[in-house]
């Protein structure tokens, strides 16, 4: 090994980053070459001067709290919930929410509004399932659920019971998405939960039914007659389709 090669590898040698073969060659070269050995000695010395003297700035004590507050406060949707008994639970839900929200944007720095919404409905669905808070009004009677929701919202979502087909209505609740209060209808299929998110469509247009999968959850969405729908569940795609067809047919029927 000549000096040029040795000098190239000297820092790797200093940092213990060379493979054994190269390290040995550099070591041998240093034994026989005074200028290179001197350069290496200087590097060693510089290192110890830096390591002994360069300050390692510790994070100020208030920073941790500030970060927790930033993260906790970054998702207002999770804040208004009375069921999250403590700050920690609230924070936990925020974490889960954001983690869910970002599945779709791993490779896209800025998600489209639609992608964000899908993330939000999935997050809201998971929050409901995790916390067991699925309904504000628990009833399989659509004549109880529908007026309860209508009384609290500026629209009236279509509500039907599909017990006969294996999808009993469990109830409904309010949530807050897309910058407004919305209705969530909860159905059951065996031991799976199905959430149907409904709110008025600002653009008012019809949107074709589209399906996607987010981390094991099926999301089907469409807009019709001035309302947007997102159906979220962990059912198989077939069962999810079956439910959506039933729901759409009932929603389209006169009198809902």
């Amino acid at each position: 090994m000549d000096c040029t090669e040795a000098r190239e590898l000297l820092h790797g040698y200093l940092d213990n980053e060379l493979d054994a073969g190269h390290a040995m060659q550099v070591a041998r070269h240093l034994e026989s070459c005074e200028p290179c050995a001197a350069a290496h000695a200087l590097d060693l010395q510089l290192r110890s001067v830096v390591r002994n003297n360069a300050p390692r700035y510790p994070a100020p004590a208030h920073l941790r709290a500030k970060i927790l507050a930033t993260i906790g406060g970054s998702r207002h949707e999770t804040r208004r919930r009375g069921w999250l008994a403590t700050e920690w639970l609230r924070l936990g839900a925020s974490f889960a929410f954001a983690a869910l929200l970002t599945w779709g944007i791993t490779y896209h720095f800025v998600p489209s509004q639609e992608e964000t919404l899908v993330g939000e409905v999935v997050a809201a669905h998971v929050r409901g399932v995790l916390t067991g808070r699925l309904t504000d009004v628990a009833s399989s009677d659509r004549h109880a659920v529908k007026p309860w929701l209508s009384a609290r919202l500026d629209f009236s979502p279509p509500v039907s019971d599909f017990s006969a087909a294996g999808f009993p209505l469990i109830g409904g609740r309010l949530d807050y998405l897309d910058g407004r209060p919305i209705a969530v209808l909860t159905y059951q299929f065996r031991n799976h939960v199905i959430s149907v998110f409904v709110w008025p469509d600002r653009s008012g247009g019809e949107v074709e039914t589209s399906k996607e999968s987010r981390k094991g959850y099926n999301v089907t969405r469409w807009a019709r007659a001035g309302l947007r729908y997102h159906v979220v569940s962990d059912l198989s795609a077939e069962q999810s389709d079956r439910f959506v067809s039933l729901f759409q047919a009932a929603a389209d029927a006169p009198g809902r």
Binding site: L10, H11, G12, D15, E17, A41, L42, D43, Q45, L46, R47, V49, V50, R51, N52, N53, A54, P55, R56, Y57, P58, A59, P60, L63, R64, K66, I67, T70, I71, S74, L89, L91, G92, A93, S94, F95, A96, A98, A99, L100, L101, T102, W103, I105, T106, L130
Partner: protein
């Protein structure tokens, strides 16, 4: 809340590295308040992009975000305090270390002392400052530095070589002025 693993793991992965994250940010910004801003923003980003964390070294992952946050904030506030002074002489770098300054070892020893080291490191361009901090203070491997700085491992070695050379020259200059 048995299923609540995601929040736990974000906290478990990101919060233990707060000191490391702050140290890097502080060295990059050279300012207490800016460092706090960078770290806070970086944690928010890390939190949002937690799903992009594929396991493994949480420290390298977080430091990558801290570093990127710094550069994007610096770009954004280019006219403001994050502006990096560009030292022509330092960049020029033709003079071999210590060649004209008598005994380089003695010079180096005299520079022992936190403030002189700090000032000398602060005078380096950020790309050299960051590899020095990651290597000498945080003692990261080349592999991890390569991850954080998003460069090949070979570049880490050559950048460190250059950084040390520049730092030595900076210290010699500081001591020459004493």
């Amino acid at each position: 809340m048995a299923k609540d693993q995601e929040p736990e793991s974000f906290a478990q992965i990101a919060l233990p590295h707060l000191d490391v994250a702050y140290n890097l940010a502080r060295w990059l910004t050279r300012d207490d308040h800016l460092a706090e801003d960078v770290v806070q923003e970086a944690y928010l980003r890390a939190f949002r992009f937690f799903s992009s964390f594929r396991g493994g070294d949480g420290r390298a992952w977080l430091l990558t975000i801290v570093r990127n946050t710094f550069y994007s904030m610096r770009k954004r506030d280019h006219a403001a305090q994050l502006h990096e002074p560009f030292d022509e002489e330092l960049h020029d770098g033709a003079v071999e270390a210590g060649a004209q300054n008598g005994d380089p070892e003695a010079l180096l020893m005299r520079s022992a002392g936190g403030q002189i080291i700090r000032e000398a490191m602060d005078a380096l361009p950020a790309e050299f400052r960051e590899v020095l901090v990651l290597r000498e203070i945080e003692e990261l491997s080349y592999k991890d530095i390569a991850l954080v700085a998003e460069v090949p491992v070979g570049t880490v070695m050559s950048r460190l070589a250059r950084a040390r050379k520049l730092l030595r020259r900076q210290l010699e200059r500081a001591n020459g002025g004493l």
